[in-house]
């Protein structure tokens, strides 16, 4: 049984000029202990998917359809009171900017203790000892002395380590890491990712790693989902997606990776830009930019479909219908 299953998830933002669909019919699963990478440009809906799973979408955004199933139990429709016991205890979260995710007025020890005591039956003394142990585990030097220090006394990289400790301290089965290294200095991004991966392997925690950085994904993820304009364009084992992309968008994306140690911000290879959510074209959302576009792409929207590899791709190039491929190449 998968740890997490997302079925046909749909997230909408009602606005004055109509309803925006930020996440549209997204389905995927995460197995226990697995690292699923979610990539895409900003605005592709990857962060909102993560936020929807733990039900922290900013109003007026709302889950408009689909199911989120954790350990065989639906969590998209339970009362927020029960959701509280899922957050932190079963699903941890790591946010982008460590400078703003820690409450500046409380010591890091207090924040750790508070989180653990919310979910685990621990005495003050046990919780404090455990807080120090967690700080040691995430590599804070002199943890025993620094447990009473305040966030502003740590550097950005150190603060993100504290955030990781906070996300893992109640021993969840899954961590949703939303751009965990984007705000960090390039030189320490690799360290923090390596730390996150090591800790999760040790504790058997699965990771949903949301990022726009293909380098990080290639290095860290077991499987990867590529998102475009609110939908999953392609999903599959990381090797296949990186080496043998089945969706033209993924192909373009892969072309944009220089060395794995560098940060990739822009997808220079693909002409044009991702459409805004207000004007997603009919048919396949990618068709205006697609080098292999053909007639069907303009009128009919493709769902994820099997390809000749282990990947699923939302692209008519892989439609079983006869002749489609030939037409596509001709165009």
């Amino acid at each position: 049984m998968p740890l997490l299953e997302v079925k046909n998830l749909r997230v909408e933002f009602p606005t004055r000029r109509g309803t925006l669909t930020a996440v549209d019919d997204v389905s995927f699963h995460i197995d226990p202990g697995e690292v699923l990478g979610v990539v895409g440009e900003s605005g592709a809906g990857k962060s909102i998917t993560g936020a929807a799973i733990i039900r922290l979408i900013e109003p007026p955004g709302r889950i408009a359809g689909g199911q989120v199933i954790l350990n065989g139990r639906r969590i998209d429709n339970i009362p927020l009171d029960e959701m509280r016991h899922v957050r932190g205890k079963q699903i941890g979260a790591i946010f982008q900017d460590p400078l703003t995710t820690l409450n500046p007025l409380y010591s890091i020890g207090r924040q750790l203790v508070e989180t653990m005591q919310t979910h685990l039956a621990l005495s003050d003394r046990e919780a404090r000892a455990r807080a120090i142990r967690w700080l040691e585990e995430v590599g804070i030097p002199g943890a025993a002395q620094r447990v009473d220090a305040y966030p502003h006394q740590f550097s950005g990289g150190m603060r993100q380590r504290v955030v990781i400790a906070l996300a893992l301290c109640a021993e969840p089965n899954l961590v949703i890491a939303d751009e965990p290294t984007t705000a960090l200095d390039v030189s320490i991004q690799a360290q923090v990712i390596a730390l996150l991966k090591r800790l999760c392997r040790e504790h058997g925690t699965a990771i949903m790693l949301v990022t726009h950085d293909m380098g990080v994904i290639a290095e860290t993820a077991d499987r990867v989902a590529v998102m475009y304009a609110g939908r999953i364009a392609e999903i599959g084992p990381v090797r296949d997606v990186v080496k043998h992309a089945r969706h033209p968008y993924t192909e373009g994306l892969m072309g944009s990776i220089p060395a794995l140690t560098h940060k990739v911000a822009r997808l220079t290879q693909i002409e044009g830009a991702m459409p805004r959510l207000t004007d997603i074209p009919p048919g396949c959302a990618f068709h205006p930019r697609c080098p292999k576009v053909f007639e069907r792409c303009r009128v009919e929207r493709p769902d994820l479909m099997p390809t000749d590899g282990p990947n699923l791709a939302a692209c008519w190039l892989h439609a079983p219908a006869r002749g489609a491929r030939e037409v596509g190449h001709a165009a």
Binding site: L56, R87, L105
Partner: protein, 328 residues
């Protein structure tokens, strides 16, 4: 800690000096104090003698230093109008103003902060809308009108509360208090509501907007993502973070209460410093105006110091020695 206080006090010096200079310039250059003190008929010799006696023939900076020395000893000369020492007049009136301001400030805080927290947390509930409407009316109604309406209802129509004065007071040394008699307490009710109303609505609106701001921050989202209870998120994490700006503005507002007391005291004929001041303004009684200005400045400096100390207690970033972008 000690260094922190000292640096704050040092920063207060230029403020006090500037205010003193303004206050002194009022003495020295506005109107003709000599003519006012001598009255209608005087000879040039009398005038020259008085000028010398007052030291008005000495250079500007000497006069200023003498003024500062006198001010430090509470010596502000005689009121033009009442011909009594200004210091005595102010001391007599001070307890009335301070007791009124203190009561109004407590009222504003005790009611304003919880209302602000509530409207921030439950922004769409009907009670929040009700509070907000009330607060907007509170901000738009001038203080004196609130006073007049309260007098109309409770003193004129219902006749249950007094409409002017302090009632009976008890003297404790030079301080007179209305807190110890039933009529004193009764007399305090309408004026303190009048005075506190504006500050209360202001504090409520401030707490609310800070609360809304803080609730949008990443660390509140992160606290929710860790599954902390609403109680812990709202009253532990959010409320504490709203305190820093709230303390600043509230501190300033408490100072403003003492200034606004001028209006309330006029409406209720409350025998405080404000009434003294407004009479001084109407009669161009410069010594009282100058002394009142200095006293208010001193009060503000003290309030600011207390505000800074509270910051220090609330915000660990200040204790690290470097002061992050503090109050706004």
């Amino acid at each position: 800690m000690f260094a922190f206080i000292v640096s704050r006090l040092l920063q207060a010096i230029p403020v006090m000096l500037t205010v003193s200079l303004i206050s002194f310039s009022m003495f020295a250059y506005v109107g003709d104090p000599v003519a006012i003190m001598l009255g209608q008929d005087y000879t040039e010799a009398q005038r020259a003698a008085l000028v010398r006696e007052l030291g008005l023939d000495r250079p500007f900076y000497v006069q200023f230093v003498v003024f500062l020395q006198n001010a430090a000893q509470g010596e502000f000369g005689l009121s033009y109008r009442l011909a009594r020492p200004v210091a005595d007049l102010i001391l007599e009136r001070m307890p009335a103003t301070l007791e009124l301001s203190f009561t109004a400030a407590c009222l504003a805080l005790v009611v304003g902060v919880p209302m602000g927290v509530y409207t921030g947390l439950y922004r769409d509930s009907w009670l929040s809308r009700f509070f907000l409407t009330i607060s907007l009316i509170g901000v738009s109604l001038p203080t004196f009108l609130i006073g007049i309406l309260l007098i109309l209802v409770f003193a004129v129509i219902l006749g249950v509360l007094p409409s002017f004065g302090r009632g009976e007071t008890v003297a404790i040394g030079w301080w007179t208090t209305g807190f110890l008699t039933a009529s004193g307490l009764k007399a305090l009710i309408l004026p303190s509501i009048t005075l506190g109303m504006f500050q209360m609505t202001l504090i409520m609106r401030l707490v609310r907007s800070e609360m809304l701001e803080v609730l949008r921050t990443d660390y509140i989202k992160f606290a929710r993502a860790r599954g902390l209870s609403n109680r812990a998120v709202h009253f532990g994490h959010a409320l504490k973070n709203t305190l820093v700006p709230v303390i600043t503005i509230t501190g300033l507002q408490l100072g403003a209460i003492i200034a606004f007391a001028i209006v309330t005291e006029t409406v209720f004929q409350w025998p405080g410093m404000g009434l003294l001041f407004i009479q001084a303004v109407a009669n161009a009684d410069i010594p009282i105006m100058a002394a009142y200005l200095l006293l208010i400045a001193l009060l503000f400096v003290v309030i600011n110091l207390i505000v800074d100390l509270l910051y220090y207690a609330v915000d660990p970033r200040l204790r690290g020695g470097l002061r992050a972008a503090g109050g706004r």
